[in-house]
Amino acid sequence: MAQGLRLLSHMLEDSRCQTPPMSTPSTVSSEKLRSTFRWMLLARTLEDRIASLYRAGGSIVGGVYLGRGQEAFSGALGACLSKKDGDIFGGLIRDMSGRLAFGEPLLDPVRAYLGSAAGPMRGRDGNIHRGRPQEGLPAMISHLGALVSVVTGMLLARRLQGKATCVGATSIGDGATSTGSFHEAVNMAAVEGLPLVVAVANNQYAYSTPTDRQYACENLVDRARGYGIQGYVVDGTDLRACLETFTEAVAAARATGKPQMVVGKLLRLAGHGEHDDASYVDPALREEPSGRDPIDVATAYFDGMEVRKWQEEALKQVAEAIAKAQNEAGPDAGHEPWLALASEHLVEGRRL
């Protein structure tokens, strides 16, 4: 079965996209496959828990946006980067898996969702916007596309500081490829020759909008050539294929110092947010290969007993983190300094 999946997946041969030849046997170690799968499990476990807390009401602050269906694509990217070597992962709203694989502490999302003042954004900004900019995890803003140039700038800084081999990755949805921000940033990274990996998670919808109202090209990878960068397509539901492709793309970025664009096809297996029942999603899409659940697909790679054990560990980790964060206080307006500037002497508190 794993073999069958391999055939469905990996970079599609396509003359338009300058993909390196398909690599057999897999360039991905079983250790990497396993560890990434465990991040996927952890992400799914956490998000399931958050979703049920959200539905129960009372404990989750703000909205809940899940990465369900994108765990392989996102996790593989996060796992192919090296936080300790100065790589950058600019995660978006569906990147729980990638963020954790990259090295974000589990407590960060838990605290953010539960509104703990000890969370990375201290209650000032929310859940999916969390980040640790000085540890290679920039904190996204809502405006789609806006993070791509920021990661590009982080890479420029790396280069100016003599750390030119660091790679910076960021993801983008099919919908956000329509933003001018995305275009300007990818083009700029190509012009500046910076090792940016753009992971296009084509989950077939932008909120309720299907891709035929978003773009008219055959495949979003067709954009790569227009930027003069390398393009890859991958079955975004298959962890092994994703790991192979991102391994190559990250290596290529590191070696050439040039942007790489990886387009993964998959399906958003949740509402846009948990407030959304996604009734507009065409049910036929779930039956297609791209509609598979990446956790199911990857589970087939492993021994069932082991998977259950990992699942239990994930449940335990999540439960512990939630228990800890639930005991932490929310932010206290009385102690909030209300300082938007680092230069405190320029703050006009009293006057405004």
Partner: protein, 321 residues
């Protein structure tokens, strides 16, 4: 049967689409899905060619509307949240706002901006952007605070020959209700005395009208009668109505939910002191949100914006000066 603020907005669009074949709506997820807030729910069924889902391209969405308007159409653009209009900003202030003045050809577009804060929405889904747009010549900026105004002013905005920034407040969408929609109403450009009083004037708009009315009710229990002026549109500002009220009360508090530097409250104070200095018995004051981004956590958010309590506190001081 009662109508919500949101239903009024939907209904105004339905009426406009029905009455004028040049009206169309463009925005993300506004078709079958009916919009993030359902302000266009069902409209695509009745008008399949004139309700269109847009790609995530706010700059081009506004540009497209401008082009269509030049050709005689009357587009309505729904921004998914007001905050995302920052992406269409250039097209709004430089292309739409200047078009009539530069060319003599009107540019009748209506930009619907779901505005203002709600708990847990954070820095990028809560903004009140009226001051940005009011600063630029060539735009009309309306800020309905009631169901009736949401309805009648949206209809009027669509009919106006100028680009209108229609700031609809998300906090009012579901809770605010009216028995029926108006057939006649004050036109855009006229303010309304929402509550009469003689001890002080509160000038406000949008969701802050309701906080101000609550504060006024609290003050009434202390024996002070505060007049509350609902601006309805912030460009133009109905200065005469404000001056009339200040002439009666001698005291002025301007309240807004937007950031404190500049903006509507500064403009109101400036006009009153320039044109009605002698009407004032004591220094006029302002109350705005704090000078930081809008916080995500409800604990912080509640302290960031003016509320009935903070307005009450400011007024209590003002009436005793």
């Amino acid at each position: 049967m009662s109508t919500t603020y949101l239903a009024a907005i939907r209904e105004a669009q339905a009426v406009a689409l029905r009455e004028d074949p040049n009206v169309f709506i463009y925005g993300q997820d506004i078709g079958k899905f009916g919009g993030a807030f359902k302000a266009t729910k069902g409209l695509i069924d009745e008008f399949p060619n004139r309700v269109m889902d847009a790609p995530i391209s706010e700059d081009a969405m506004v540009g497209l509307a401008i082009g269509a308007a030049i050709e005689g159409m009357r587009p309505i653009v729904e921004m998914q949240f007001a905050d995302f209009s920052s992406i269409g900003f250039n097209q709004i202030i430089n292309q739409a706002a200047t078009h009539y003045w530069r060319t003599g050809v009107p540019c009748p577009i209506t930009l619907r901006l779901p505005s203002g804060g709600t708990a847990g929405s954070g820095p990028f889904h809560s903004q009140s952007m009226e001051a940005l747009y009011a600063h630029y010549p060539g735009l009309v900026v309306v800020t309905p605070a009631t169901v009736e105004d949401a309805y009648s002013m949206l209809l009027e905005s669509i009919q106006l020959d100028d680009p209108v920034i229609f700031c609809e407040h998300k906090l009012l969408y579901y809770h605010l209700k009216a028995d029926r929609l108006p057939t006649v109403n004050l036109p855009v450009g006229k303010a309304r005395i929402a509550r009469s009083g003689r001890h002080a004037t509160v000038v406000t708009y949008s969701a802050m009208l309701h906080e101000s009315l609550k504060a006024a009710a609290m003050l009434a229990e202390d024996g002070f009668h505060v007049e509350v002026v609902d601006l309805r549109s912030v460009k133009p500002i109905d200065t005469d109505t404000i001056l009339g009220s200040v002439a009666r009360t001698g005291r002025l508090l301007a309240v807004g939910e937007a950031f404190p530097w500049g903006g509507v409250t500064a403009e109101v104070l400036s006009r009153v002191v320039s044109e009605g200095f002698d009407l004032l018995d004591c220094p006029p004051i302002r109350l705005n949100a704090k000078d930081t981004p809008i916080p995500y956590h409800p604990n912080l958010w509640k302290a960031h914006r003016p509320t009935a309590d903070s307005i009450y506190a400011a007024l209590s001081e003002l009436v005793r000066k």
